[in-house]
C-alpha cells in the first residue's frame, strides 16, 4: 500500500525514535543524582559518602510531636518512617509547615543524623479535600 520511499522513511524514523529514546533514558539515568530535588533520610544513611560542606536538600515528613521552638530557632525531625534526621533552622517558616506534613530542608549536614537548614519549603501532597471531609476523616480514625 505504501510506496517504497515512504516505507523506507517509516522504518528510518522508527529506528531513529528508538535510538533517541534509549539515549535520553541513559542520559537521565546518569544524571539522576542531579535531577532528584531532595534526599530522604534513608538515602542519606545508605550513601557511601556524605559531604558536609556541600549544600543538599533533605525531604520527608515532619515527625509528630518533634517540633521544639525557642525565640530564634526551631528544631524538628524529618522522617521517612524508616530513618530520621534532626533539623535545626532559624528563619521564616512557610505557612503550611506543620507536624505530619511534608517538608524539604535545604542546608548542610553536620553528620548523618543532624542537619543545619538555611531554607525550609513545605511540600504539599496530592490530597485535596474540604475541611469538613478532613475533620470527618480524622474523627473516624479514632
Amino acid at each position: 500500500m505504501l510506496s517504497k520511499k515512504v516505507r523506507g522513511r517509516f522504518v528510518f524514523f522508527i529506528l531513529l525514535l528508538l535510538l533517541s529514546a534509549v539515549t535520553i533514558f541513559l542520559i537521565l539515568k546518569s544524571l539522576e543524582e542531579n535531577i532528584v530535588y531532595f534526599f530522604s533520610p534513608s538515602e542519606i544513611y545508605s550513601k557511601q559518602e556524605v559531604s558536609l560542606s556541600k549544600k543538599i536538600r533533605v525531604g520527608g515528613l515532619v515527625k509528630e510531636g518533634s517540633i521544639s521552638k525557642d525565640q530564634t530557632s526551631i528544631i524538628f525531625i524529618i522522617t521517612d518512617l524508616k530513618k530520621e534526621i534532626v533539623v535545626s533552622y532559624s528563619g521564616t517558616i512557610p505557612n503550611l509547615f506543620s507536624e505530619g506534613k511534608g517538608v524539604i530542608a535545604e542546608g548542610k549536614l553536620k553528620d548523618r543524623k543532624y542537619f543545619i537548614a538555611d531554607k525550609i519549603l513545605a511540600k504539599h501532597d496530592e490530597n485535596y479535600m474540604p475541611p469538613e471531609v478532613k475533620k470527618a476523616l480524622d474523627e473516624s480514625k479514632y
Binding site: 515512504v6 522513511r9 517509516f10 524514523f13 525514535l17 533517541s20 529514546a21 535520553i24 537521565l28 539522576e32 535531577i35 532528584v36 530535588y37 531532595f38 534526599f39 530522604s40 525531604g59 521564616t92 517558616i93 512557610p94 505557612n95 503550611l96 509547615f97 506534613k101 524539604i104 525550609i120 519549603l121 513545605a122 511540600k123 504539599h124 501532597d125 496530592e126 490530597n127 485535596y128 479535600m129 474540604p130 475541611p131 469538613e132 471531609v133 478532613k134 475533620k135
Partner: protein, 236 residues
Amino acid sequence: MFKKFLPSKILSSNSNLINALLIGLILVILLGLIYSLFISPPDYIQGDSVRIMYVHVPSSFISLACFGFIGIASILNLIFKIKFIPLMAKSLAPVGCVFALISIVTGSLWGKPTWGTWWVWDARLTSMLILLLFYLGYIFVWKLVNNFEKANKISSVIAIVGLFNLPVIKYSVDWWNTLHQPSSITLTSAPTIHYSMLIPLLIMLLGMVIYSFIIFLMKYKTELIKFKIEKTKNQK
C-alpha cells in the same frame, strides 16, 4: 474524523461551527468559574489558593496535549509529506505555548503561599520550562525561516525532539523526588481529590479545551488561506 480537517472542508465551512463553539465556550466557562470560585469549598490545608488549580491543571494538560499532537504530526509530516499536516501542527503551537506559560505562572503564584517559594529547579518545574522553550523555538522557526520547506523541516525536527520531553514531564514526579506533588488523577486508581473539587476542575478543563479548539480552527483557516495565496503567487 481526520477527513474533517482536510483543507477543502475547513475552507468551505462557514463560521457557524465557530459561533456554536463560542456559545458553548461562554456557557461552560461561566459555569466553571462560578463553580470553582463560589460553589467549591476551600481546601483543608491550602485554603482558597486551591482555586488556582482550576486554571493551572487544565493549562498544563492542554499545553502537553497540543505539543503531543504537534510532535506526532511532525513525524507523519516527515514520513508522508502531506501538505496540510504541517499547517495543522503550526496552528496548534500558539495556543499550546500560551497555556504552557499560564501553567508556569499560575503554578508560581500557587507555590509562593504553599511551598514558600516562587520557583525551584525540581524535575517537574524544569521540564515544564523546557516545554515552553520548545514551543518558543518551534514558533520562532516558522516566523524567522522564510522558505516553507526549510521551516517545515527544521520545526518538525524540533517538535520530534521535544516529544521526548512529554513523558519526562508527566512522570517526573514519580521517577524522582520533586517538590511538586504527584498527580491526583490517574487512570489506575481513584482520584485523591474530593469530588466537590473534581467537578469544577473537569468543567474548567472542558471549557479550556473548547477555547483551544476554537483558536486552533481560526488559526488553521488563516494558515490555509495564506498557503493558498502563496501558491497562486508562485504560479504567476
